[in-house]
């Protein structure tokens, strides 16, 4: 495998300076840095090579966080790869705004390719009525709990927010931390705000701002959501020093039984795979909020990654062939099997491939949810995300008043 990667690399270096010829594509992806990601992309590219020996791929891989820098630089310098991995929302939006993305509308209309995707997922890569990338996987956020610990202590998963608060008191009285949270990178706490806003006011709030709806507002619910988070923090339901702790460090508290619950994404399934035998992963949906106006079955879930084609690409036909191959049911089911992540292609998240926990979330929670609300922080334009992160950290450590945080966020979202 390594030899092949090296060979591909040498080939890539030779052809890099020329624009891709017919039958040849530069392909950039961020499936590196993790065994399951590497296994998936190796499988997909190998199968592609067998199915389409006439198309030569020059593959460039980078690890997720550095990939963004690399791709942004390539796009800004007018040197985009032909087919590439991108994030939905604001990240893709910037490329679309710069007229750098090829519209996939015609291709998706052919042979029912477009129909094979969940429409809620495709909506997240569609801007101004045109689809600019095909969504691959869906991350969702739910409450995770340690089943063995709950059984031992006689606790039950709460259904309402008030029950959740009662449970927290019990857990604290037992000397444990109710919620594992490591908010150093700012994104882990966002699920709290978004779920509270969704329960209190409803789904689609931030999407409304992004779409430029004049009546989009966080409402008084925004302040209320921040207030509830400040309360949780003031009551000591999060670990000591959580704003300086990484998500992975917080995860250790959870896996070692020092913290009882965690509000986190579906990647928790993979992160719990190496836990000790005293741990068993369970999940429950974010509890209902009695006075909330939102649909209480809504789930926070959004497209995690997508693939697009650059407008500059000369060989668009082969590029579409590659995208169709990557999003074919067989490849997508393999994706579910290897990565334990839900995918956007209908019917590909099978029980056999997903395993019981993921299938449960996909079937019982997402299947029954009235709405899927995409992750606020990736849907927002970058400036809004910064404000969102800093306000939330401030509310959590008590340095920013909930009302001020809501006001700042509202202004940032209106400014676009």
């Amino acid at each position: 495998m390594r030899l092949r990667a090296v060979a591909l690399g040498i080939a890539a270096s030779v052809s890099m300076s020329f624009s891709a010829l017919a039958g040849e594509l530069t392909f950039w992806h961020a499936y590196s840095g993790q065994q399951d990601k590497v296994d998936f992309i190796n499988y997909a590219l190998e199968e592609f090579g067998k199915a389409h020996p006439d198309i030569k791929l020059n593959v460039v891989a980078a690890e997720q966080s550095s990939y963004k820098t690399k791709l942004n630089t390539a796009m800004a310098s007018g040197n985009p790869p032909d087919v590439f991995y991108t994030l939905p929302g604001g990240f893709l939006g910037a490329f679309v705004a710069g007229n750098q993305m090829y519209s996939l509308d015609d291709a998706l209309a052919k042979d029912g390719w477009g129909e094979s995707f969940l429409s809620s997922a495709l909506a997240q890569t569609t801007m101004g009525g045109h689809t600019y990338a095909v969504p691959i996987d869906i991350d969702s956020s739910v409450f995770w709990y340690n089943k063995k610990l709950f059984a031992e202590k006689g606790w039950t998963a709460p259904a309402t927010y008030d029950q959740l608060l009662e449970l927290c008191e019990k857990i604290k009285a037992d000397g444990l931390v109710p919620f594992a949270l490591g908010n150093k990178d700012s994104w882990p706490a966002t699920f709290w705000f978004q779920y509270l806003e969704m329960r209190l006011k409803g789904s689609g709030i931030v999407s409304g701002f992004v779409a430029g709806n004049a009546d989009a507002t966080l409402g008084s619910e925004g302040t209320e959501a921040f207030k509830r988070i400040a309360d949780l923090s003031a009551k000591g339901y999060f670990p000591v020093g959580f704003n300086g702790m990484s998500d992975q460090e917080a995860n250790m508290l959870f896996l070692n039984g020092q913290a009882a619950m965690m509000l986190n994404g579906t990647w928790q399934i993979g992160a719990s795979a190496d836990a000790s035998d005293d741990f068993e992963l369970g999940f429950f949906p974010f509890p209902t909020v009695a006075e909330g106006k939102g649909d209480q079955s809504d789930i926070l879930g959004g497209v995690a990654a997508a693939f697009g084609i650059a407008e500059k690409t000369t060989n668009k036909e082969d590029a579409v062939t590659l995208l169709r191959f990557l999003t074919s049911p067989a490849v997508m089911t393999k994706y579910v099997e290897l990565r334990k992540t839900m995918v956007t292609v209908k019917g590909a998240t099978t029980e056999a491939a997903a395993g019981p926990v993921l299938y449960g979330i996909s079937n019982d929670l997402m299947g029954k949810a009235a709405n899927l609300d995409p992750f606020y922080d990736t849907a927002m334009p970058p400036k809004g995300t910064d404000t969102y992160y800093t306000s939330l950290q401030g509310v959590l450590d008590g340095s920013v008043a909930p009302a001020d945080a809501a006001k700042r966020l509202e202004e940032a979202l209106k400014a676009k």
């Binding site: 090296v6 990601k37 690399k70 990647w267």
Partner: protein, 278 residues
């Protein structure tokens, strides 16, 4: 006072302090070494515990996942290339600024200061455009040139600071003896400046060895990646296999360690050489 000079209280105190210090400094390395022998499960259960059944699996996986040998070699090429280039340019430039004191010296210095203040991020896009025009994208030379350019200003200041202390009498004497300007530089100044050049080179090497941004953006081929970029492949976004990552870091640290062992004397003399002028 009749204290045993070998075991005076002060001496024992100093030794005790240094021993504690050494332990504190060494512990992370020891921890890293024994953690590589654990499984990820064991690591997750307890960060401090010793491995129950030591296994070298992490090393095998680390070695198989990336191409650590290739990455190291690439790092070495980029490091030596840009260091030599930066030090050569800076030595000549520092000498000229110190010895000839051009009329626009202040202007040059301000220019260099401004150049030092430019963050590399700002220059990324123009650099990619230039490198592409020169057909240097995805080549080691394409990393070496901008890296050296960014390191020249600081290196030049180090070299100039040294040449300023060079007694002018030596140069005057050489001139009177009919030595050409280039010969004065090459046969008199450069040999004297060797310790300073070594210091500058070491500072450069450390920067370049650890540099992440330029190799990340300018290099595409897996076979040309440098160590920091290659090692990033071991860090997952949400899940990290710590023993494998530590094993990779451990293997990656071997090359600089060997270099240090071989050049230890030169490095320590170089670092202290400029401190006192005899």
């Amino acid at each position: 006072m009749h204290l045993n000079s070998r075991w005076s209280i002060t001496r024992i105190g100093v030794l005790a302090f240094l021993s504690v210090h050494v332990l504190v400094v060494i512990f992370p390395f020891v921890w890293m070494a024994y953690s590589t022998l654990k499984t990820n499960k064991e690591f997750m259960r307890s960060v401090w515990s010793l491995p129950a059944t030591p296994s070298l699996d992490a090393f095998v996986q680390a070695w198989n996942t990336g191409a650590l040998g290739t990455y190291s070699l690439n790092s070495l090429i980029v490091m030596l290339g840009s260091t030599v280039l930066a030090v050569v340019v800076a030595t000549a430039g520092g000498y000229a600024l110190a010895v000839y004191r051009p009329r626009w010296l202040a202007g040059i210095e301000i220019g260099l200061m401004i150049a030092m203040a430019i963050p590399a991020y700002v220059a990324l896009v123009p650099l990619v455009v230039m490198l592409r025009a020169m057909n240097l994208l995805d080549t080691h030379l394409g990393v070496v040139l901008p890296t050296a350019a960014f390191n020249v200003p600081v290196t030049l200041f180090i070299m100039r600071a040294f040449f300023v202390t060079l007694p002018r009498d030596i140069i005057e004497a050489a001139r009177i003896d009919g030595c050409s300007e280039f010969a004065i530089f090459w046969r008199i100044a450069v040999p004297i400046a060797r310790p300073a050049m070594f210091t500058a080179a070491i500072v450069n090497m450390i920067w370049v060895w650890n540099d992440f941004l330029f190799p990340l953006v300018f290099i595409n081929s897996p076979a040309k990646k440098t160590l920091p970029v290659g090692l990033a492949d071991f860090v997952g976004e949400h899940i990290t296999n710590y023993p494998v990552m530590l094993a990779a870091i451990f293997l990656a640290a071997i090359a600089p360690l060997v270099l240090f062992v071989f050049f230890e004397r030169q490095i320590t003399t170089a670092l202290t050489g400029g401190a006192v002028k005899e």
